[in-house]
Symmetry: C2
Subunit: 307 residues, 2 copies
Amino acid sequence: MISKLIDKIVEKDAPVVVGLDPMLSYIPPYLLDRAFESKGETPEGAGEAVWLFNKEIIDAVYDLVPAVKPQIAMYEQFGIPGLMAFKKTVDYCREKGLIVIGDVKRGDIGSTSAAYASAHLGKVTIGSKAYRIFDEDMATVNPYLGSDGVEPFIKVCQEEDKGIFVLVKTSNPSSGEFQDRLIDGKPLYEHVGAKVEEWGRESMDGSYSNVGAVVGATYPEMGSVLRKIMPHAFILVPGYGAQGGKGADLVNFFNKDGLGAIVNSSRGIIAAWKKDAYASFTEEHFADASRAAAKDMIRDIRTVLGR
Amino acid sequence: MISKLIDKIVEKDAPVVVGLDPMLSYIPPYLLDRAFESKGETPEGAGEAVWLFNKEIIDAVYDLVPAVKPQIAMYEQFGIPGLMAFKKTVDYCREKGLIVIGDVKRGDIGSTSAAYASAHLGKVTIGSKAYRIFDEDMATVNPYLGSDGVEPFIKVCQEEDKGIFVLVKTSNPSSGEFQDRLIDGKPLYEHVGAKVEEWGRESMDGSYSNVGAVVGATYPEMGSVLRKIMPHAFILVPGYGAQGGKGADLVNFFNKDGLGAIVNSSRGIIAAWKKDAYASFTEEHFADASRAAAKDMIRDIRTVLGR
């Protein structure tokens, strides 16, 4: 799978992911009204609003970027109708040729982690039949439970040509509470990073592994260290833009081949119409604002990479 | 919420949780067939089978135990129909007076963690209305992202009188890979435990906090240490029975007041009909086998506690 992602990154010259994390406050009022008029101020209405919003954004950016990252919490909060909108979004993005990274941050043990891996990346057996359920291409995984939690995902990566990104150093302010604590003179995130490199050997796909890592753009020095510890891991980098990560710092997350990282922006792209810089598009043309913001981000990152 | 759980534990003299983790292999063939005949060998059929299975078990044990713990992965693997069975199970258990602990192990940052907290424990605002979505009473939370990930759950605990159990030391064999690593001379799980006690002060409910911890029955010495580090945290103890945790060791997880812990068994109760000890019930009476296994487990734990 990672080679497919790399092909698309190279083709579009854009190591960029659009985070599809649709809070209702990001959705223009006229679109919310349209959804609520047809389905009420209900979870069904919220699901419809999210879907209408996503579809316009996907249509506006799919030719620019290789991948999207829907954050499942933003769908799960609306229950069944929300998760139906998640599935519709995943399917539509794949139809459009985008790689879909399910930002699910699941992590459990043994058969339970296997159930999550089957639900999101693999197939589930029901009687004599097998079904793909949410069917993302890649997913994020939480490492706190150790190998027992991660191995079932790696197994599915091998069997189904899928990929994962393991949380190593997250972009949030308090990520250091546990992740930065020193163990044998090195922070926990370095130990997790070393494990990612080790797990990754089980599922190589070209020069990179299907087992990648999440490292926040907000911690560029740590990104630089982790880049060296995990030479075969692709790094999914959240926290660019709205969370404070700056373009110039992103170079730390890339390898010398100009690959090895893919940078996510959610709010900065999908809610661009609410920012002063893109306000001239007006809310009716929110998707055009997203397209402009995506282009600006791609330009920023190309500059960083000297292209 | 924790005081409600304690009242039910005391009333039933049973610090026991039944884990509703229905793998299809736990469901008797005749019941699977019934579900598949009406809905096919489909995710809908799997959801129906899971629901029929759960309902009989709930009917057979609800008077014996204070709480149940549905593991959402086992439902999520069947997609939308699976999650509908999850919701139906949560609602039915609450109707029966059981406390429902959603074993969701969610954990993310900021607004994303808030979305999970709203989905599982709180309310979600849609236009001018507010809805309860999955509406469990308590949920499990992953601490790897630090306070940013946990605080949104604690806020909901305070506002809605709900509770959480934070993963501290999990029951699986590889849990030590990160959790046992020494930081300033103490294992990571002790640092997480200290944080749980600190977070817990924000949401006290009687002598205990609405912020509890998960510590595996498979690590009784660590349970003993953590019991002291987190005097106000209730400990949810998985790993009894099938995973190898023994009754006698469970005393370590309790306080001198005979409270402070609640022990989970999933497979040992819901798949009791498959064990030699309960095989005489036959598959048609699988729920009676579960009832017998629950009674045996309660008796075992009462003995441990000298009651």
